[in-house]
């Protein structure tokens, strides 16, 4: 019995750990992109871009800001939030990571739509960030749904102990 528990627990937790590692790596890449775009915005530098002028067209469009704040800075804040969430234990960490990734994913989809149908120009950094947010949304959703089976493992010990104690008491009588 005890062997069954000890073999099952690490296997399940390792999947969660793998998810956390993947989320951590992706959010660090996202932080890198967000930092670079925020820096180039405030340092008034041109963004390195593969397509001629695509990034500048997107960066100079009205959609690149949200009430004066560059969307890249908001993305950076989102990635930092997701990164922090993997270090928070329990439901709060999973739920906050899931919520942030979902908001990031939906807003990235909107911005990609603007690039394709309004601005008619693409910024590789923005598309890269949108792809990372999509994967993060999938991973945080899996983590949110999966952990349901991980949690109940520990409390199983108690009923076994109580039954044992009763049997011992009955034997004493």
């Amino acid at each position: 019995m005890s062997t069954a528990v000890s073999t099952a627990t690490p296997r399940r937790l390792s999947v969660d750990a793998k998810l956390r590692i993947a989320i951590g790596i992706l959010s660090v890449i996202g932080i890198g992109i967000g930092t670079y775009l925020t820096y180039t915005h405030y340092a008034k530098l041109n963004v390195l871009c593969l397509s001629s002028g695509g990034c500048e067209t997107v960066q100079h469009s009205r959609w690149s800001k949200l009430d004066g704040i560059p969307v890249a800075t908001l993305g950076l804040a989102g990635y930092i939030g997701i990164f922090i969430s993997i270090w928070i234990r329990g439901e709060l960490g999973r739920a906050s990571g899931f919520g942030l990734a979902l908001v990031g994913f939906l807003f990235s989809m909107y911005l990609t739509y603007r690039e394709a149908f309004t601005i008619h120009a693409y910024c590789q950094w923005c598309l890269g960030s949108a792809a990372i947010m999509t994967v993060l949304a999938i991973l945080t959703t899996i983590r949110m749904l999966r952990t349901e089976t991980v949690e109940p493992v520990a409390p199983k010990k108690k009923p076994v102990d109580r039954a044992e104690r009763r049997r011992q008491m009955a034997a004493r009588r």
Binding site: K44, Q59, K65, L66, A95, F98, I119
Partner: protein
């Protein structure tokens, strides 16, 4: 006795199993409610973000009534007494020239013209005859919008006002009453309404000047000139003076403009 104890144990085990199942169900329900709440919350937040990003309720467009009167007065005051010739604002012999590559439909140009360093530059350096501003048409927002073909028409409308030395009043009015990007708001009614608001503009002459092919050619040559020097976005500002040339492509503050002017003076 033993079987009774066994029965009791079995009943207890069943009860415990039921309790566990109930707790599991409750936990699952709570989790589903939480996920649902997060999804609904995320949709509301993103909806609000999109509303802000799309410009909310501020649609701009042609002003009327007291709002229009206030705008016209402000524009007249801004350019009163400053010499103009075509798309050039300021003393033609000013030592420094700032070439402003812009697109009338570009919201960032609007930001620079209305909230950036431009108004202060006009009030100080341009008014004092130290700097002159030359506007050149460069298609960005209009070409990315639903009706790129309107670009020459709208820019020629400004240049036609320039033939009566009212280019900058017309341009300033365009930026002040710029409509919502990508809505195709620029049409004949819009361009004529701005001309009517331009104090002192002869409307009949303006209409006939709009057919002047040299103005359309000027728009094309401005675009070509911009491409030649590597302009990719608007506003792009190029400063030329006795000490050389410098450029920037952004919503420049007054301090940044002053620094660039100092660099080439």
């Amino acid at each position: 006795m033993a079987s009774r104890t066994k029965q009791k144990e079995e009943a207890r085990a069943r009860r415990l199993a039921e309790e566990r199942a109930r707790a599991e169900r409750a936990r699952r329900d709570r989790r589903i409610r939480m996920i649902g709440g997060i999804v609904v919350g995320a949709i509301i937040i993103v909806g609000a973000l999109i509303a802000i990003n799309s410009g909310g309720g501020n649609k701009g467009g042609i002003q009327t009534g007291t709002e229009r009167n206030a705008t016209v007065t402000a524009v007249d005051q801004m350019f009163a007494g400053i010499p103009q010739s075509g798309a050039t604002l300021g003393n033609p012999k000013a030592p420094v020239t700032m070439t402003y590559y812009g697109d009338y439909e570009c919201p960032i140009c609007q930001e620079f013209t209305l909230q950036g360093g431009f108004p202060q530059l006009v009030s100080n350096e341009v008014r004092q005859g130290k700097v002159k501003v030359v506007y050149k048409s460069f298609c960005t927002a209009t070409c990315n919008g639903p009706n790129p073909n309107v670009f020459p028409t709208q820019q020629v409308a400004g240049l036609a006002a320039g033939k009566q030395n009212k280019f900058w009043q017309y341009t300033e009015l365009f930026y002040r009453e710029q409509g919502q990007e990508d809505t195709g708001y620029v049409n004949e009614a819009y361009l004529t309404a701005l001309a009517r608001q331009t104090t002192g503009l002869n409307l009949t002459t303006w209409q006939s000047d709009r057919n002047d092919s040299s103005l359309t050619n000027q728009v094309s040559s401005d675009q070509h000139a911009g491409k030649t020097i590597g302009v990719t976005g608007t506003p792009t500002l190029v400063f030329q003076g006795p000490k050389g040339e410098t450029g920037m492509s952004e919503v420049a503050s007054y301090a940044q403009l002053q620094q660039a002017i100092k660099q080439v003076s």
